[in-house]
Amino acid sequence: MTVVMEARDIRRHYAVGGGLFRPKGVVKSVDGVSFTLRVGQTLAVVGESGCGKSTLARVATMLEPPTSGALLIEGAPATPAAGRQVQMVFQNPYGSLNPRKTVGSILMEPLAINRRGDGPAREAAARAMMAKVGLRPEQFARYPHMFSGGQRQRIAIARALMLGPKVVVADEPVSALDVSIQAQVLNLLMDLQDEFQLAYLFISHDLGVVRHIARDVMVMYLGRPVEFGPKEQVFAWPRHPYTRMLLAATPSVDPRHRKQSITVRGELPSPLNPPAGCAFASRCPHADNRCRNERPEPRDFGGVKVACHYAETIG
């Protein structure tokens, strides 16, 4: 399996504040994330709001440069031209389509920008893509506001695929949709992945969705990965207390699957002033002084990397 995207210790920091009498602060939105994406595979990034998922997405699509670290696309450092290989599907289908353009011109625009083909060829490509994502030909000349959320997300997916990317970064692509529509869009994404051999960087906070679509799972907390490994292992045997907490919070219909509930206490620490030790220590039921003072580095447990001092004893 060839690697299409590789992130090496990506960091993205923002300078904030800095008023007249206040010092400037640095928010470490993403602080040391590494992963490899292979052809036809899905890496899911999960975590609560503010953990740096969306920043990671913006760095992966080269909308923002990383503060440090390297992003490689097919083995070469990412350049704007290589950026066409990475396209994005956004969370909100109501804001991600230009309201003044028809579906047809939205789909043809990426081709026009990159001067691919002539008019008729672009139109043919757009119509073919519409058929692939399940839109009807007569919808070619309609405007986005005439569509439902699920249909709009189909349009957004079609647009992301127009340039034939290798990687699609999907930032919570189904969380704004009705549950009944979510499954349709997820299945569409998986069908398209098989057809075009796409690699997905799938960002979500919905573990049910992740269980459905992902091959690997990265759990992020305050800009750092706390647990990263194959889906089956992470879901079946979560080693990091934060992962256990997330899994316990997932609602389940089947009573046998209901795990004992672990109450989540406290708030995410301020990213402006992260704790010296383990970022999760303030909310962790197992935390002791070592956790509060010494930051755990990721360690390998049979393919799963876990950043916790007590991964052996807890797991």
Binding site: F90, G95, N114
Partner: protein, 285 residues
């Protein structure tokens, strides 16, 4: 169905807009054909019939359907010739302010940082002065005359357009479709004019159609102070301003130029409303 026909259909739904368009077309035709349409020269003085009332009032005559002014010039002829100037003033001022304001506003929104600060604070400085005072200063620098007056009014109008464009561009820039277009590789110019600007059009069209009337009135005010159109040039605002002293004994000298401005402004506003609605895909069936 061609794009033009589609556009006309959605435009024609709005009766008021069609009426506005008809009035505007009528005015333009009158302005172009002023030499044929007007009964007299706009500056010819009939010294034996000063302040003749309009035809339906006692003392009126069919020679001067809308009466004459204080030096005996036919008001109808002056109105028809004035349409030329007033329409030109409105169009020139609005076009100048709109183009410059759009360019400045988009630049400020896209560039951000120091460029944004420089442009917007300059606009604030312009905004600080009372509009007429600023126009007078500009005309005083450039010298009196109709063209310089138009420039002055355009400069006075500039901050409104700049701020409007910048504000709507900023709110559009934050939306995901701009990000998507950018990640497809679009350059800044394409993002500015193809992606963002069309989505800022609605408030701009309204502002422009309202600005048309403001331009005529401001140019008239400059004319009144002797800094705009110079007498005997037949310009509506100048006519209105020059007739102020007769408002008690010769209402027609004042009323007809005023009505002409009112009707033009109204027609232009109706037209602008219709244009805005026709250009908005959300309002199409």
């Amino acid at each position: 169905m061609s794009a033009a026909l589609t556009f006309w259909r959605s435009f024609a739904v709005n009766r008021g807009a069609v009426l506005g368009l008809a009035v505007m077309l009528g005015l333009v035709v009158l302005a172009v054909l002023a030499d044929i349409a007007a009964p007299y020269s706009p500056i010819e003085q009939f010294r034996d019939s000063l302040l003749t009332p309009p035809v339906w009032q006692e003392g009126g005559t069919w020679h001067y359907p809308l009466g004459t002014d204080d030096v005996g010039r036919d008001i109808l002829s002056r109105l028809i010739f004035g349409a030329r100037l007033s329409l030109m003033i409105g169009l020139t001022v609005v076009t100048l302010a709109l183009c410059l304001g759009t360019a400045l506003g988009l630049t400020a929104a896209f560039a951000g940082g120091i460029v944004d600060v420089v442009i917007m604070r300059t606009m604030d400085v312009v905004l600080v002065f009372p509009s007429l005072l600023l126009a007078i200063v500009v005309v005083a620098i450039l010298g009196p005359g109709l063209f310089n007056a138009m420039m002055a009014v355009a400069i006075v109008f500039l901050p409104g357009y700049t701020r409007l464009v910048r504000a709507s561009a900023l709110s559009e820039l934050a939306r995901d479709y701009v990000t998507a277009t950018r990640s497809a590789g679009a350059g800044t110019l394409r993002l500015m004019f193809n992606t963002v600007l069309p989505n800022c059009a609605a408030p701009l069209i309204v502002q422009a159609s309202l600005g048309f009337s403001g331009a005529i009135l401001d140019a008239a005010a400059l004319g009144f102070l002797g800094l705009g159109a110079q007498p005997p040039t037949p310009e509506w605002g100048t006519m209105l301003a020059g007739a102020l002293q007769y408002y008690q004994r010769a209402w027609w000298v004042l009323t007809f130029p005023g009505l002409a401005i009112l009707i033009t402004v109204l027609a232009f506003n109706l037209l602008g409303d219709g244009l805005r609605d026709a250009l908005d895909p959300k309002l199409k069936r």
